[in-house]
Subunit: 272 residues, 4 copies
């Protein structure tokens, strides 16, 4: 029941003692490339990203991470509403860019999934998105000090630091969640051309060109927050990342080899 997408692909296995459910015929809404190995690989990476980010405390229970489908840029892969540390392949569902599930009748979804849909819609260059309530994202969302990069791996923050979105600027008496298209679009608008948007008192949303870079970015942003706070608290001059570092194609290539990802994935995906 929680395996809408994989079931449609004939890939979901029930527990050994359960009567096997017949694999449903692929619904017409499924893209032609659904059985593409790229899609299987993407789901595997998305599951790993959920678990890695949970283990690192970036998505300790709340928050979520998603990918743009590698076979159809109008589709989003994301877990059903579930703590990231518990996500497995059968929990991944497919949404369109309006945040509707492509297979109706599926499991409950994250209330704040509109964060993802609005970013993918506004930003064709972004292929992976996360929303997290990390400590230093919240700190700089509430600070007069911009979260400028002092750690080069965090250049994604941009030379002037990321924009800040305060939901109160567009609505009062909300439950603070980005639980409608309207709120999602307003957040994406505030994000603009940045890859990061801080959300006042709430957390951050981050987009990257790949999920491996996204995981690395989330780690680096939090490290940048620790470093910048330490430097501000200790006082004295601060050397921010050099303007030149933003100027070439290699500016985010630090994690080109994805060595860290390989180790992280190996750890969370090993058989129990």
């Amino acid at each position: 029941m929680a395996c809408a997408l994989l079931a449609a692909l004939g890939l979901a296995a029930g527990p050994a003692h359960a009567a096997p459910a017949p694999a449903p015929a692929a619904p017409a809404a499924l893209p032609a490339g659904s059985l593409d190995p790229r899609l299987i690989g993407a789901i595997d990476d998305l599951v790993a990203a959920n678990r890695v980010l949970a283990k690192e405390g970036i998505l300790p229970g709340y928050g979520h991470v998603s990918m743009r489908s590698p076979t159809n840029p109008q589709r989003i892969l994301i877990s059903r509403s579930l703590a990231p540390g518990l996500v497995g392949a059968t929990d991944i569902v497919e949404l369109d860019l309006d945040c509707n599930p492509t297979i109706p009748g599926g499991p409950p979804l994250y209330l704040e999934r509109f964060i993802h849909c609005s970013i993918y819609k506004a930003r064709p260059d972004i292929n992976a998105v996360l929303h997290a309530h990390t400590t230093y994202a919240i700190a700089f969302s509430a600070s007069g000090t911009p979260m400028k990069p002092v750690v080069r791996a965090a250049r994604i923050l941009g030379p002037n630091g990321p924009p800040i979105f305060d939901i109160h600027k567009i609505a009062l008496h909300t439950n603070l969640l980005i639980n409608t298209r309207e709120f999602g679009d307003a957040m994406a608008k505030a994000m603009g051309k940045s890859n990061v948007v801080l959300m006042t008192g709430h957390g951050m949303s981050v987009g990257e060109t790949s999920i491996v870079r996204l995981v690395r970015a989330a780690e680096a942003i939090e490290q940048n927050g620790v470093v910048l706070t330490a430097l501000k608290a200790a006082g004295g001059p601060i050397s921010y990342v050099n303007e030149d570092d933003y100027s070439d194609d290699l500016s985010r290539a630090v994690n080109g080899e994805a060595r860290e990802w390989k180790a992280q994935k190996a750890e969370v995906m090993r058989a129990p």
Copy 2:
């Protein structure tokens, strides 16, 4: 011997090699609803909360967490005197609102259990209570800076920060423990209508409408302490949680789905 409540319910199992103790008849003091599945579910959640809070360092050995019985609002469920990380279902005992065990002759109890009884007595809206010695609760208990919320999930702190209870205002030469009804009532009086009270140099006591919200609140309060300290140390203006966020029914609904709780409970309750 440590399983007064469950034994009374006929639910306590001795080790396989022990002569099985006959289940005692339910004493008259037990509420009629004792075998209610809600009570079993509550004990299961309370055990999980003990272990989750121990694992997270919120109740690393000292401190305690309790629930109001779901079948009788005049009864409290709490562990016998035991480190939270070791608590199992057979360690849960039942107290009345004066902190007397409903089944006499039970195991030793927490000396500071009066924290719980006094709060439940004074505050019918509170169904779960914890007392902890967390680092940032102590820091703000000793600071001239109120622990105002900068993290929305910590709005339970209240717009002006929680009240502070200093036991020295009512007694000198104490051993600092809330080990009498008098001290418990004084602390509950200082707490007033807040859901949090900081205790000078000692820690905090927190009450919530449910144990799941309580666990989430304790985490958010500590995160708020880290963020607020970072902001104060770094200097500059601070954006506290907007006044509007306190004004509606949804103000504490952030954890409505309890996704995090599901993951946390799964982790601590799995078979060894």
Copy 3:
């Protein structure tokens, strides 16, 4: 070979495949009470304390912890030179108050064991000692700010904070270690009537009436360092522990029940 004391007691077991060594007759130097269950219990607690403090990062590899023998106040129990996390019962050796092993020909000993001997000699009220290089002990050893208690569990620091011992005041061109009786005695002299002495740039030495209280004290001292640093960095007034809290017999009774110890010991002493 590393089990001088237990071997003398006939308690050391070699590996199953080794030819059993005949238990040597108890040497004359061994106190009459050597087989006293109190001694066995003390060794068990000392092993647990080594492992608990290693696990908590207080003794992550360097540093050491010892006990006064419960059967002879002129004797000290301490591990041979070994990382605390690896210590087992057969690694415990017995020293006299001059730091000589009571059974000659034993294994190599900690170079800085004189810290322990000098404190036990000077302070009959102290029954357990540790030496650690914890981060906040070092910070306050190098600071003009006294490490005064803001956490009541850390009242052992004393109302004015602990004294600071700088080895350079008595010797230059040392290797910084307390590796002679002279250095040990100088450190104990600086400690005076305090239970804690900070050592400039090096760490701290702590003594308590029991090993359970000592473990709790070491944890509380580090927490106090975090809290006090946070308060100083954030600015504003600080409420130190009330003078009254030092005035009665109960002033260090917070951990009377040793609940935390029970949980800690259970975790590190379970069969692998």
Copy 4:
């Protein structure tokens, strides 16, 4: 395929189900001492150092650690391009001081291996090198405050703190990596006679006389960063390590016994 060096030594074992590859004859480029037990011991220590530093968060996925070969000072032992936490004996390769592998046709190498080669070439006294992106190395690389030692175990920082290398001083529009001999040599030149060089916004490179001392140094440098930041943030005078402590042969002998290393290695090298 990833076991160039050990395969050449006839030591690489394929998985049980694989057809055993015939051990190639030792190529002429291999030094005569290749089968020397010192080399086997060095590889074992290097593997352990990779895993220990990964586990401690010093090399969490990126960064690398190497040794000068104990049998030929013109040779370097380092892992193929792999996350440190995953390194095993068959991943170790041998480089000459120009960073060319001594056995051609081997696996991909770290792009930044020139950090290591340039340091070994310039500094015959250094036998072990690491490059890491630790939080406080980055903080002090971007600060006007020199990273002077307040922790004696971190005296390797030097009395005035380590030099800082900013790659922008020699090249703009780089991808920031030390991925050529030119950049490596420039970094080693900035390092000069120090054992540590901070790299602006990037991390640090550290050299020591042995790999055990190197691991200890990396830990102490990070602890020194935490302590120094705490002292600066809290304000007031700071007692830096005494000048006298740099003046004798024993100045880095704190870890003479390598107790901590023994415990660390035991933990990471145990059979799974």
